[in-house]
Structures are given as C-alpha cells and as structure tokens.
C-alpha cells in the first residue's frame, strides 16, 4: 500500500498580472511529495520551478498570486489536511506552517542572512518563533544544530556574522536554520549553485545524510541535471510553467519519454561523450513569457512537432509507464485515451 502523500499539489496556477500582460509563471502544475522522499524539480530559467515553491510557502512576490489549484499539506499524526492555497499569506495558520512544517533553504546564502545580526541570533529567533523555550535553551539548540551540519567550532561561530563565514559555512548555517524546527518538508531552491564543486559535494552529502537521519522529505530544485541524478528519487521536469514529464529518477534519465527531456539530456556534454563531436542541440531559445506559444509550450523547438496538433492542443499529463507521466500529444492517441480519466498520479517510493 502506498503511503499518504505529505504534500500534494493539484493543478496549481500562479500568475503575475503585469502592465505589459499576464505572465503565467505556473500554469497547471501537479505533483506529490511522500514522507522521506527527495523530489527533484528540474527546469531552465522561467520554467516556474521557484514560483511554484514560493506558492507552497505563500511567499510569492506581488503582484503574483495563486489563482487556482490546491496545495494540500497532510496533517501531523493523521490529522486532516490543510489547503495552503486557501490560506492568507499573512494569516496565523500560514505562519505556523512556514519554518515549522515546511522550511526553505534559499538560493543565495549571502543575501538570506541579515548582516547586522549574528547567525546565532537569527537561528535562535527562528527556534523561539515556533517553540516555547527560553533563550539559554534555544542557544544551546542552535549550537547543536550548527554542529550537526558540520560547522567546526560551533560554540564560537554562533556569534559570528554571516559575512564572516565562507560560502560553504554560510550554506551550512542556512541549513541549520531550516532544520531548527524539525520541518517535515524541506524545500531546497538551488542550494548549491552559488558554491564550488568540492563544497557542493560536501553540502549534497550533508543533505542526504540529514534526510536519512530525520526521515524528512526534501523538494530539491535545480537546473543541474547532474545534481538531480545524484539526489532525487523522483523527478519532475518543468518547462514554461508546465510539467513536461515526471517519473522515477531512473526512468527520467535512462528512458525519457518527452521530446524535451530527451533533447535536454542529449544536449549536455558528458564526461563520457566524444570530445569535439557536435552536440545534438535544441533549436531556438526559451520564449519570452509574454510570447508564450499556443498549444504545447515546447512545440516551436520540438523535433517531433506535429503541425495542426501541437500548436493547438495543450497536452495533458498522461501515464507512459509505471509511475511515469509525460505531457505530450505523441502519447494522447486512441490507446492513451482510456487513461485520461485516471489523471491522479502516485509518486515513487
């Protein structure tokens, strides 16, 4: 029997009404996260991966807002689920979820800490926000957290300012802050793009270890396919605000079905590829959000483009294998019609 999903996002839509037009940053995205699972969300710039995560935390920058869909967070200990999409961003219940139930590791560790407060003071603040403990106890907890994420001399570093720490240590401190209230779900938004490869390897190993120890679910967002292959067990591939394909990590990397996923995987040079050989390319570039193509958002760049079909119909996410879904009109033939009804997806273990 499948466990209940911890978070289930259904047909989420987040739009930005701008003077120049409407930007559909997230346009009908559905996925599920199970307890203890690492879900990877990959996509290039403008695919809506970060906005979707901000929607989950109700921290979308204005004028953007959630215009449709559900974000169901399972209750603790079998309690009833909350629909985050219905909560007000500034409401008390939303504030209780942020940090305590769902924590965020933001992209830039430099700009995420206040430069005028010590790192410790900020972690202590987060702890006291959600737990009734006195300052001494909170401070001890903060030091333990810093130690747990591998900050050497945690007792001294707790009084350091963020700008006194190196990039790797700063990222560790942010992770410590994210863990401070034992969240059930950690959202890591490109946590390693700003740091070097050898430090990146340390941080990735740390996240994997913490996830195993605490049986925490992680949503890992990145544009780096290598990082996704190493971290995630289930992968969602996004393009221009829509899910193109989702499946278990092995299915996505070894048997990709959607033309976009296939082309993307082919086009990245690998350490094993033949040197100097021409790489297979994806023609064109990502369209500007105001010039969103009709029909399938990928059709102008797709090599399996079917005239009269892909530029008119918006493909639905349909099953193409076990726990493997793709939204491409190639799969919406007569055979796949029957499956259209059972649209709800079940994630991998």
């Amino acid at each position: 029997m499948k466990p209940e999903p911890l978070l289930s996002v259904r047909d989420l839509k987040a739009h930005f009404p701008l003077d120049e037009g409407l930007v559909r940053a997230v346009d009908g995205v559905s996925f599920e996260v199970f307890p203890g699972q690492v879900l990877g969300i990959v996509g290039e710039s403008g695919c809506g991966k970060s906005v979707a995560m901000k929607a989950v935390l109700q921290i979308i920058d204005p004028p953007g807002r959630i215009v449709g869909g559900e974000i169901l967070l399972a209750g603790r200990d079998g309690g009833c689920a909350v629909d985050i999409a219905k909560l007000k961003p500034e409401s008390e219940s939303m504030r209780r979820i942020r940090g305590a139930e769902i924590a965020l590791i933001p992209q830039e560790p430099m700009s995420s800490f206040s430069p005028v407060h010590t790192v410790g003071a900020q972690i202590i603040e987060a702890i006291q926000m959600h737990q009734t403990v006195d300052k001494r106890r909170a401070r001890r907890m903060a030091a333990e957290l810093l130690q747990a994420v591998g900050v050497p001399m945690a007792e001294q570093r707790i009084d350091a300012y963020s700008w006194q720490l190196s990039g790797g240590l700063r990222q560790r401190a942010i992770i410590a802050m994210g863990l401070s209230c034992n969240p059930r779900l950690l959202i890591a938004d490109e946590p390693t793009t700003a740091i070097d490869v050898t430090t990146q390897a340390q941080i990735l190993n740390l996240l994997r270890r913490l996830q195993r120890q605490r049986n925490m679910a992680i949503i890992f967002i990145t544009h780096d396919l290598g990082v996704i292959a190493q971290m995630a067990s289930y992968v969602v591939v996004m393009y221009l605000g829509r899910v193109m394909e989702q499946g278990a990590v092995n299915d996505i990397f070894l048997q990709p079905q959607h033309p976009y996923t296939k082309a993307l995987l082919r086009s990245i040079p690998d350490v094993k590829s033949t040197p100097h050989a021409k790489l297979p390319i994806i023609s064109g570039s990502i369209p500007h959000p105001f010039n969103r193509p009709e029909g399938c958002p990928f059709h102008p760049r797709c090599d399996s483009f079917m005239a009269g079909k892909c530029d008119r119909e918006i493909p639905e996410l349909l099953p193409v294998g076990e726990d493997h879904f793709a939204s491409c009109l190639l799969f919406s033939g007569a055979g796949a019609k029957a499956a259209t009804g059972s649209k709800v997806r079940k994630g991998a273990s």
């Binding site: 396919l225 094993k272 990502i286």
Partner: protein, 343 residues
C-alpha cells in the same frame, strides 16, 4: 582532433606568471601583505588548439586570463606571444601604446551576455566598433564586414540595426563572439562563455565555438569550471588551485589518470547525470584557503588525503613527469588516483 603530443607551433607561452594584489591598511594605506592571485603559472598553448583553464572560484583563472590579454599588469613572469608576423614578443612589460598594434590579435568572449553588451548600441555599432577603431573608416565597408561576421556566427544580417534587448541569451552570446572575431584574432580568450546560458542553449554555443575553430583555425584559452564542458571542447587542460598551477596535461590523460590529488578530488566531486553512478562518498574536507594567507608547503596539504610530512613544509615545484605532463605534487609518481571518463 584529440592528440597526445602536439607538434603545432606554440602560440602563447606563459613563464612563471605572477600577479599579486597589495593589501593596504590604515590611514597611510601601508602595504601589509599581498593576495597571491596568480603565483608562478607556466603553460603553453599551441596554434589551433584549445587549452582549458579550470579551478574553483578564487583560484586565479580569470586573473591569469586578464594578464594574458594585458587587461592587467602582471607582477612578474613572461607572456610570450607569437605574432601574425612571426615574431615572439613578451607582452608582460609592454606599455599600453606598444600593446595597441597587438590587441587585434587577441580578443575576449565574456561570461555574461547581458552585462557585456551596451544596451544603447545597435548590433552594427557593437560588432563594427572594433573595425572602426582599427581603421575601417568607410561605413559601407564596415556594413559588409559586419554582415559577414554575423552570418559566420549564425545571426541574420538584417538584425544589424536592432539593439541587444531584442535578443535571447544565446543570441547575445553570439553577438559577443561576433565582436571578438571581427578583427580575425589569433588567440581568443573565452571566460566561462556558456555558464550564464540556459542548459538547452549551451550546446548551440559550444557547437559554434568548435565550428569556428575549425573554419578559422582559432586558438582558444577556455576558462571554465564545468569539467564536462571542458572535456568536450579542450585539447589540453590546466588545473589551478589558490593561484598555483597544480597539473597540466592532454585532456584524455588528465581525466583518465589524474596525477594530482586535487585534480582527482575535483573530478570525484562532479555530479554525473546518470543515477546509476553515485558520486564518491570520499569528499574533500575543509575549504579553499585564502590566497592572502596561504598555508606553508603545498597549498593543498590541509585538505589532501595523501599528505605526508614533506607536504607541510616544502612547496612542490611544477615538474614534467612525462612528456607534456606537468604536476606539482611530491608524490605524483607513487599515488594511484582514480579518474573518470573510461569508455
């Protein structure tokens, strides 16, 4: 094109290049120390080949590139450049005026296609400016040449009167490449030319760079941190760590059999886009030291899993351990290090 020991003539040779930045303190701006951004770097680049310069941020790879182009005055060492006329000139001590006639022969492609193009200049102005500066006064002649270069990089000449904002990241990078090639340089320094681009666009630009090299017999110095891209495009690779060159070799040799523990660690840390291959659990401990306060002995010894007593006191010199292969490690011969990219 991959070759073991190349016989192409040498285009550029660095000998013991150094660039130190003074650290100043107090009211009188007394110099209290120096940041050794580039410390004793030597390598050669042969005509028609690509040398990849890799390393983590702050290792001095960009500073090295800037010294070669003489956008900076090096603190010491020689930069021997073979000019089109067949003379070998040391660029390091030359004055700005002396450098001027040589500038057309070396050009740069920048990392950020958004920041490196003036938004108030049209494509014609951007690509035509180097021509104008170098004596192509006739507008008609310039228009013809710009059109030709634009076609070469895969842009339509009709776009000549447009401004950069009308183009996507990949197209802008093509504009930057067109500007660099306008004067038919012999050496092109590309500083992270694809790292700011979307993954689906990177392959287009890499293919263009390879294609142009073949057609125009260009020589590239390719500065990058992405080891997969470097493996794909470079004939030789030089690895830097905190201002020092740790290893240089032919690409295939370096990836298969790294000789320096840092090179091996760098390779082990690269996430492979294959879920069946997991990155090594042997991670490098600690962090990159500051070039203002380098450790004694070998720069890498505090993090090196193979360090011995000698590494803590004695700086390992860069030495040739087999033809064309230079390593700065005391234990290069005895260590058996794992590489990647076995077929």
């Amino acid at each position: 094109m991959a070759k073991g020991i190349s016989t192409n003539p040498v285009l550029l040779e660095l000998r013991h290049l150094r660039k130190f930045f003074p650290i100043q303190k107090g009211f009188f701006r007394r110099t209290v120390g120096s940041v050794r951004a580039v410390d004793d770097v030597s390598f050669v680049i042969r005509e028609g080949e690509t040398l990849g310069l890799v390393g983590e941020s702050g290792c001095g790879k960009t500073t090295t590139a800037r010294c070669i182009l003489r956008a900076m005055q090096p603190s010491g060492g020689e930069i021997l450049f073979q000019t089109r006329e067949g003379n070998t000139i040391d660029l390091a001590p030359l004055s700005r005026r002396q450098l001027r006639p040589l500038r057309p022969q070396m050009q740069m492609i920048f990392q950020d296609p958004f920041g490196s193009l003036n938004p108030r200049m049209t494509l014609f102005d951007i690509v035509g400016e180097p021509l104008l500066v170098n004596g192509v006064r006739s507008r008609r002649q310039r228009t013809e040449q710009v059109a030709e270069i634009l076609r070469l990089v895969g842009l339509r000449p009709e776009y000549m009167q447009r401004f950069p904002h009308a183009f996507s990241g990949g197209q802008r990078q093509r504009i930057g490449i067109a500007r660099a090639l306008a004067l038919h340089p012999r050496l092109v320094v590309a500083d992270e030319p694809v790292s700011a681009l979307d993954v689906s666009v990177q392959a287009q630009v890499l293919n263009l760079l390879l294609d142009l090299q073949e057609r125009l017999h260009l020589t590239y110095l390719f500065v990058a941190h992405n080891l997969s891209v470097v493996k794909h495009i470079c004939d030789h690779v030089a690895v830097m760590y905190v201002g020092k060159l740790v290893e240089t070799a032919a690409t295939e040799d370096l990836y298969r059999h790294p000789r320096h523990p840092y090179t091996a660690a760098l390779m082990a840390a690269v996430p492979v886009s294959d879920p069946r291959v997991s990155i090594g659990d042997v991670e490098l401990k600690g962090e990159v030291p500051s070039p203002a306060d380098p450790p004694p002995g070998c720069m890498f010894h505090p993090r090196c899993p193979h360090a011995v007593e000698r590494c803590r006191s004695e700086v390992p010199p860069l030495r040739e351990i087999s033809p064309g292969r230079f390593v700065s490690c005391h234990r290069a011969e005895e260590l058996a290090l794992a590489g990647i990219g076995r077929h």
